[in-house]
Amino acid sequence: MPGEARSNAPWPKGFPSDDYVRSSRGLEQFLFALEPKRNSGVLDLGGASQANISFITGLGHRISSENLLEGVDQIWHDDSTSEAGKIEGFLDQVMNYQYSSFAGVFVWDALQFLPQPLLQAAINRLHDVLEKDGVLLAYFLADEKLTTVPTYTHRVMDNKSILLSPRSLRTRNQFLNSRAIENLFQNYKTIKFFLTKDHLREVLVVR
């Protein structure tokens, strides 16, 4: 399929190809920010997972699930539609939360795989649906050279660790350095970067 983002390239070295648990300061801070809020909404853009549903609802929150990358695959690669039409279609069909607002959004590693024209539109939509002082957790690969990178399913194990399960290899649409990430979230109140020992750059953004 033209523009298909999934790849059959060999698994890159240095990236776990089996499930692994990593600790996440970003997750810890995300959950800390949610703590004073009760019965709030949390949006998980990594798709539905039992672990995340149990964890978030166990904290007394409502959870909404959406698989952002699956949405991209379904809508973006339709060559019969104009770019503007695809953006509109994506926002209407995949990121349509007109009756909801969220105190937190798990974006995980999805943003770097969004086509460039869609990226800012998606971030603006998240700005619309996040409540004031709502938090967003996103991961970006820090390795600039790789274009085909692994995607993982992220499952919250406890308030500071995540189980990552390999999903597929995808073509990264853009490498986002710290400056580019700051620019993307310029409408948000604060942005916090967490340094990690592996390939990931954790980012916590406050609306």
């Binding site: 539905a48 039992q50 409502r62 959870i63 699930s65 959406e66 698989n67 399913t153």
Partner: protein, 161 residues
């Protein structure tokens, strides 16, 4: 020819044990209210209500409806809001688009779900309030030998002669 004969004959609703079944070639529009478990493997549009029972959407089931049951198992597709007072199970082949309200949820890896999940506390059936020991003792002391009769509590089926 009667007008009905021009419509594709639906499979009759079969009963297996205490479970009613709607087969994969059946298409229904309307409201289903059932007082027994239901296995729905056909196409359905409308509303389903099985207050105290279990609803299974089979692998061929395509439901566009608001659904309410005690327990719901989804193997096929549901497009609509779903409420399960006890538990909902979304199998890996399932596709569910809609909001879920339930006491417990099991969602298998690979299941497609788009919507929100609201966990509600399971309904606790109200037990009639038992008299506290001190009150019972006081009542027994004040009313003499007649107090030895069983206490009739609200909702009990005991009837006085």
């Amino acid at each position: 020819m009667s007008p009905v004969s021009s419509i594709r004959d639906p499979e009759p609703v079969r009963q297996t044990g205490t479970t009613a079944s709607i087969g994969k070639s059946v298409m229904i529009k309307g409201t289903i209210i059932s007082r027994e478990d239901l296995y729905l493997d056909g196409e359905f549009e409308g509303g389903v209500e099985l207050q105290e029972h279990r609803l299974t959407i089979g692998p061929n089931g395509r439901v566009q409806a608001s659904v309410k049951a005690r327990e719901i198992v989804v193997i096929g597709t549901i497009h609509g809001n779903v409420e399960a007072t006890e538990k909902i199970e979304v199998r890996k082949e399932a596709k569910l688009i809609g909001d879920i309200r339930t006491a417990r949820i099991v969602i298998e890896d690979g299941a497609y779900f788009k919507g929100s999940i609201d966990i509600m506390k399971p309904e606790v059936k109200q037990q009639p309030e038992k008299p506290r020991p001190q009150q019972a003792a006081a009542a027994a002391a004040s009313s003499g030998p007649q107090a030895a009769q069983p206490v009739v509590v609200a909702g009990s089926e005991n009837k006085r002669p």
